[in-house]
């Protein structure tokens, strides 16, 4: 049988080495089971720590034979166990080794082995499975192909501390979220999880993972405790169902008479291994974000948060600092009080500045290994720091100020915007976005550092993920008081924004039209024309019929901003009057909420303020009837908006006011005005009286 495998592998370089390796493989085919066993044991000793030997044996076809022996019912348990051990050893090698093992369908074979009654064999299989599943090349889904596997693994949890350790480790590696890398920023759209069927967390949860693993948190074995904890950190991540169960499930989960959060808090103690502190902080963070623990609970405020801040300190390993900062960013993202506490804890804001100093000039000189290590983590560190700065500055003006005053902060953000790593760019934009919510900073540091330039660059051909945040930042930079507004427009922002409104991505459409609305606010004629030209009438109508009410509102807002000041109104209405009137009619007739209708009536009021544009309303009986209708609407806001229209139309200092007044009186408007002047609503009452006065004059 062995000779079958020989032919394709005649590589001269390998020949010498493979000779000895082949001997090992050949012995697997011996007829005497005792000799086969000895062969496997010798092979085991030969491959330990020897990657070359491992590769050779794989090339020579040892894997299928080992799997065959492992699966044979006739094989002795000892032999089967040794086979699993050797396979596990092979899996410890390179990623290519794992790939080869996967190609030989090792996973079903090992899962089958778990049904054996022999504990030693089961442990060997689990150990091998563990090694395979923690490899990045193994698809996690392979664990979930057979529904019975998970429940069997849950049952095996009680067998020994080794089954506990390996199974927990398998679970925590086979439960990854697909948006792992964008840790914590829910506000942005994420790709959907496994479209078919429930996600991994839910599967494990439904098999009683919480109850089965909880008691392992107090195991006497550190490894078991740690793997169980990791398991929970993965299970609970962004999963409210798991998180709630951890705190107060229907069947309260108690371990040694304590609730799980108490156990996690104990694991946060400062003399515990850093890995344990960090992982349990992640568990508590997930539980807090899921709403299972209040943000003002002392275990969050006085334990989890300070622990995560400590993880950001210089004393920690680079990996730990990255994870600590990301987790902290997630914890405080939506709670201003936590943001405030974090901002004063252990000089966090200054501490984070250190994240940008890798690779340091020292490491470059002292040793190459350190440089390599630093380089590897430099991107991760930077993006983590940006994320945390973004969370810190999300709501509080003082914190934003402190961040920007940190050494070279704006320069770092500007540099971050043009980094090659998407992750860093994204995080930098996020940070910029957070800081751009400050009016003061927009006027000062943003201007001083010409932030808009790299931002505009980021917007070119960026992936949607970045575009969403960048365009949202641009919205803020385009606010009327922002000194960046002008240069941004000059660099072609309108065209860019108009193109965003055509995006499939809802968030991009909203941001695009929102930014245009900001641009149009009190803008000069030329800009308004540019917008209209860039957007095109069709696109404008498209947006007005957008299914998303946010898009609709911002589009109406844009229209309203465009139709301000008399000359602009007349100009725009002279060119686009017909379409605009059509759109307005359409919306007023359609099924929309109060805010939309109010906004539309305000647009009409603006049109009514024009000199020539007035006629477009006066000649449109349909519209006039609608205005009349809204004057008597049950909602005061709509009544008021309609009154603005009337008021503008009957204003008697303007040309042709007499005719308009007459026409409206004939329609019965004056009667309504009289009625409204008796209204209990002071606003309506006032407005009605002013309108009536126009008739008297």
């Amino acid at each position: 049988m062995a000779c079958v495998l020989e032919a394709p592998l005649r590589m001269s370089v390998l020949s010498e080495v493979t000779a000895s390796s082949r001997h090992y493989v050949d012995r697997l085919f011996d007829l005497d089971p005792q000799k086969v066993l000895q062969g496997v044991i010798d092979m085991k000793n030969a491959v330990i720590g020897n990657n070359k030997q491992k590769a050779n044996l794989i090339v020579l076809g040892a894997v299928p034979r080992l799997l065959y022996l492992l699966q044979q019912e006739t094989s002795s348990t000892e032999l089967r166990t040794e086979c699993a051990v050797v396979l596990g050893s092979l899996a410890m090698g390179t990623e290519n080794n794992v790939k080869s093992l996967l190609d030989c369908h090792i996973i079903p074979a090992l899962l089958q082995g778990l049904l054996s009654p022999d504990l030693k064999f089961i442990e060997a299989c689990l150990r091998c499975l563990r090694t395979i599943f923690i490899s990045p090349v193994t698809p996690e889904d392979l664990l979930y192909t057979d529904a019975t596997v998970i429940s069997h693994l849950m049952a095996l949890l009680s067998r020994s501390r080794y089954t506990q350790e390996y199974i927990c480790q398998i679970f925590s590696h086979c439960c990854k979220l697909q948006h792992w890398h964008s840790c914590g920023f829910k506000s942005l759209p994420q790709p959907l999880l496994c479209a078919n069927g429930p996600d991994h967390q839910t599967i494990l949860f439904n098999h009683g993972a919480v109850q089965n693993i909880a008691h392992l948190l107090v195991s006497t074995s550190y490894k078991v405790r740690m793997q169980a904890l990791k398991c929970f950190s993965v299970l609970a991540f962004e999963n409210p169902q798991v998180s709630m169960t951890l705190v107060n499930g229907k069947h309260k989960v108690l371990v040694d008479g304590e609730l799980l959060p108490q156990i996690f808090v104990k694991m946060l103690q400062r003399d515990k291994p850093v890995e344990m502190q960090l992982t349990s902080a992640k568990c508590l963070t997930s539980m807090c974000r899921a709403g299972a623990i209040r943000t003002d609970d002392s275990c969050i405020v006085l334990k989890t948060l300070p622990c995560l801040v400590r993880m950001c300190s210089k004393e920690r390993l680079l990996e730990e600092r990255v994870e600590g900062a990301e987790t902290l960013a997630y914890l405080i993202e939506t709670d201003v009080e936590l943001q405030r506490i974090a901002s004063i804890t252990d000089h966090l804001i200054v501490m984070l500045a250190d994240y940008f100093k890798y690779p340091s000039s020292v490491s470059a000189i002292t040793d190459i290994k350190r440089l390599d290590h630093d380089l590897k983590h430099a991107h991760e560190l930077r993006q983590a720091a940006f994320k945390l700065y973004a969370s810190l500055g999300a709501n509080d003006e003082d914190i934003r100020k402190k961040i920007i005053e940190t050494e070279n902060m704006m320069d770092r953000i500007v540099n971050g915007l043009s980094e090659s790593s998407i992750k860093v760019r994204l995080a930098a934009v996020r940070c910029l976005h957070s800081l751009s919510r400050s009016v003061q900073q927009l006027r000062t540091s943003f201007q001083d550092h010409a932030v808009w330039k790299p931002l505009m660059k980021v917007l070119q051909n960026a992936p949607n993920e970045i575009l969403v945040v960048a365009s949202s930042t641009l919205c803020n930079l385009l606010l009327e008081f922002s000194p960046s507004k002008e240069p941004i427009l000059e660099s072609g922002a309108i065209e860019l924004l108009c193109s965003l409104t055509q995006s499939e991505n809802l968030a991009l459409r909203v941001n695009g039209i929102w930014a245009l609305m900001n641009v149009a606010f009190q803008a000069e004629q030329k800009i308004k024309s540019d917008i209209l030209r860039g957007l095109s009438t069709e696109q404008l109508f498209q947006l007005l019929s957008d299914s998303d009410v946010n898009v609709l509102m911002k589009t109406l807002g844009l229209l309203r901003n465009l139709l301000s000041t008399r000359p602009h109104i007349d100009h725009i209405m002279s060119t686009h009057g017909k379409q605009i009137m059509q759109a307005v009619t359409l919306i007023l007739e359609g099924e929309h909420n109060i805010e939309v209708k109010e906004q539309t009536l305000c647009i009409l009021a603006n049109i009514a303020d024009g000199t020539t544009a007035k006629e477009l309303i006066m000649t449109n009986d349909d519209i006039l009837q609608k205005i009349k209708y809204y004057m008597s609407h049950s909602n005061a806001k709509l009544q008021l908006a309609a009154m603005f229209c009337i008021s503008n139309l009957v204003w008697n200092e303007e040309e042709g006011s007499q005719e308009r007044q007459d026409k409206l009186r004939d329609m019965g408007i004056v009667d309504i005005l009289h009625k409204l002047s008796q209204s209990s609503d002071p606003n309506l009452c006032d407005k009605a009286k002013t309108a009536l006065q126009q008739y008297l004059a």
Binding site: I344, T345, D346
Partner: protein
């Protein structure tokens, strides 16, 4: 065990204070700073009514501070220091201040200052003064200009100040949140450098100048703050911070590099164990150890056995015989050590009173009652004691020789056992519990239980060595041919510290209560006369020594104490009755053993004990010179 030790160490101050708050404070302080010897270096407990500027008013047990000056400008600033400076042995020290009212402007400073720093100032403005100010959140490091440090603080906030005496830093907390390092260069001794002794001098001088006191300063009317020196639980989890540092320091010790000389290191450890065994005369154990570890023993077997014999005699209370044996085996030794001889003779006298010395026992050996009644009777082997009640009839010389002397604890349990078997009036619970007690004191309880179940307690002295790699079989073999563990008591005591000693004493007393029929010199008239005769000889010896070597107060005291025993009708229950305790034989025995070893040009103390003593002394020294890490590396933590 460590708790018990700490408790006995500072038992004084809990006894002084009877108020529950005071008690809680004392408890918390003991728990937080177990390494601090509060008699030597008291901890701050309140603000000092003497060490303050007169614009400061104190109330509520000198914990509340209020401002009573004009508060016009910075010249009206006023501070107060705590009653005591922060002892270095705290390792990490922490106190909190609650802002009751920010007053007019909230110019409050919280921090540290050395004695003598001007109190008409806020903490931080002057040399050896450090502060964190509420109005601007700046930190002031011996300077009039502050550095941006943390948030501002005001009414309702709780500000904490933590001094880390290990790395000489200080950080503050606000409402339980650490604000990060404020000062990195506190004027406390730096780490040990090469010129250790030289620096030591400097440090000590330095310390007198710059020991830091908790300090607060106020500057405008209406400002009121309350201090918490441990009266209440702290808002910040300082114990968690301490845990981190304890782990750090213990990690440093654990990982301390012993270099490439790993072989030498092991040889050194083996040598230490071996020399310890030899020193105390565990001759067969030492031989077995030497065989397994392939090392050699410096001293000859016979020499060890001789010493062992003498020690046994002393510990059995047969001091007269011990003196004889010493004179025979080491001629000239006692002649050259008159002080030692005198000490031995004094002890001999005490043992005569006790009825144990052979010179008086020859008169009383046939009195079963006296044998029975004396709890520490050395000539009861455990085997006999626990196996039958005929002990009194055979309790003469020969078994004593073959079985050697028992440790005090074993003796106790035996005597109790006897009491139970001979008199039904003893409470039934006392007997088993006392047996268990003696077992649980052994370092390896499983081993000792195993032995005691077969009534073979001879190897118990080995139990404490079980952490060295003697295999079980070696231990068993050892038990067969090696006689009793003579020094188990002393070894246990040394290994576990003094508190254990006290526990033993207590049990002794209770066991004495159970045996009311003790009599002078075993109740024998002839023996009493011999004793009085001996007393006269002793008196003569004392006078002779006095003539030759001049007055010796120690001798005088020894003699006085010994003779005082005769002044009481029941010497065992008199103010000087403690002398009769068999445990008092140990120092005498150790002194004799050391003297013999010294005369043979061998170290008078085993290196193991030297190392232990060195470590303890080093820690004490560290505490004195202000090296805070001593508080997290206590010798007790390493003795299990």
């Amino acid at each position: 065990m460590a708790d018990a030790g700490a408790g006995s160490l500072h038992g004084g101050d809990s006894a002084l204070s009877c108020l529950p708050e005071e008690q809680e404070l004392s408890q918390r302080l003991r728990r937080l700073y177990p390494a601090v010897n509060q008699e030597e270096t008291p901890l701050p407990r309140s603000w000092s009514p003497k060490d303050k500027y007169n614009y400061i008013g104190l109330s509520q047990g000198n914990l509340r501070v209020h401002y009573k000056g004009h508060g016009k400008n910075h010249k009206d600033a006023a501070s107060v220091r705590a009653t005591h400076p922060i002892p270095a042995a705290c390792g990490i020290y922490y106190f909190e201040v609650k802002i009751v009212s920010k007053g007019r402007d909230g110019y409050m400073g919280i921090g540290l200052s050395a004695q003598g720093v001007n109190m008409n100032r806020l903490p931080g403005w002057d040399k050896h003064s450090y502060g964190y100010h509420g109005d601007d959140g700046h930190s002031f490091c011996s300077s009039g200009t502050g550095q941006p440090y943390g948030p501002t603080f005001t009414t309702g906030d709780v500000i904490g100040c933590c001094v880390n005496l290990i790395n000489n830093t200080c950080f503050y907390t606000k409402n339980g949140h650490s604000l990060g390092i404020a000062f990195t260069d506190l004027p406390l001794p730096a780490m040990i450098s090469n010129q250790f002794m030289e620096l030591l001098q400097e440090y000590i001088q330095h310390l007198f100048k710059s020991n830091l006191y908790p300090t607060v300063g106020l500057q405008t009317p209406g400002e009121i703050v309350d201090a918490n020196f441990g009266q209440q639980p702290f808002v910040f989890d300082i114990e968690d911070y301490m845990r981190e540092w304890r782990a750090k320091i213990q990690g440093t010790i654990k990982r301390f590099p012993i270099g490439d000389r790993l072989g030498e290191w092991q040889a050194m450890l083996q040598n230490m164990v071996s020399s310890y065994l030899v020193h105390h005369g565990y001759c067969s154990t030492a031989a077995a150890f030497a065989r397994i570890t392939d090392t050699t023993i410096q001293e000859e077997q016979t020499s060890i056995k001789n010493r062992q014999r003498i020690q046994k005699l002393v510990l059995a209370g047969r001091v007269g015989e011990a003196i004889e044996a010493t004179q025979q085996l080491y001629p000239g030794l006692l002649e050259h050590n008159p002080n030692l001889l005198f000490m031995l003779k004094c002890r001999q006298f005490v043992e005569m009173v006790n009825g144990t010395d052979s010179e008086v026992r020859c008169f009383s050996a046939r009195s079963p009652r006296s044998q029975d009644s004396y709890p520490g009777s050395p000539n009861l082997s455990p085997r006999r004691g626990s196996n039958n009640s005929h002990v009194h009839s055979t309790g003469a010389d020969s078994p004593t020789c073959s079985n050697g002397v028992l440790s005090t604890k074993i003796k106790q349990s035996c005597s109790k056992y006897q009491a139970l078997s001979s008199s039904s009036s003893s409470s039934s619970s006392s007997s088993p519990s006392s047996v268990n007690y003696s077992e649980s004191n052994s370092t390896d309880s499983t081993k000792s239980q195993q032995h005691s179940s077969t009534s073979n307690q001879e190897t118990r002295h080995l139990a404490f060595l079980s952490f060295f790699y003697l295999s079980d079989s070696e231990m068993e073999m050892e038990a067969e041919h090696y006689p009793n563990g003579v020094l188990e008591n002393s070894s246990t005591r040394i290994m576990n510290g003094t508190y254990k000693h006290e526990e033993i004493l207590q049990t002794d007393e209770s066991s004495m209560d159970n045996c009311p029929q003790r009599q002078l010199c075993g109740g024998n008239h002839a023996a009493t006369e011999r004793m009085i005769q001996f007393g006269r000889e002793l008196q003569t010896l004392s006078e002779q020594l006095c003539r030759e070597y001049g007055k010796n107060t120690m001798h005088k005291k020894m003699l006085q104490d010994a003779f005082s025993l005769l002044a009481y009708s029941d010497p065992w229950n008199c103010p000087v009755g403690q002398q009769l305790d068999p445990i008092q034989r140990e120092p005498v025995c150790a002194a004799l053993n050391s003297a013999i070893l010294e005369s043979q040009n061998l170290p008078k103390q085993p290196p193991l004990m030297l190392a232990l003593g060195q470590a303890s002394e080093c820690l004490r020294l560290m505490a004195r010179v202000g090296l805070g890490s001593c508080s997290f590396a206590r010798v007790d933590d390493y003795l299990h």
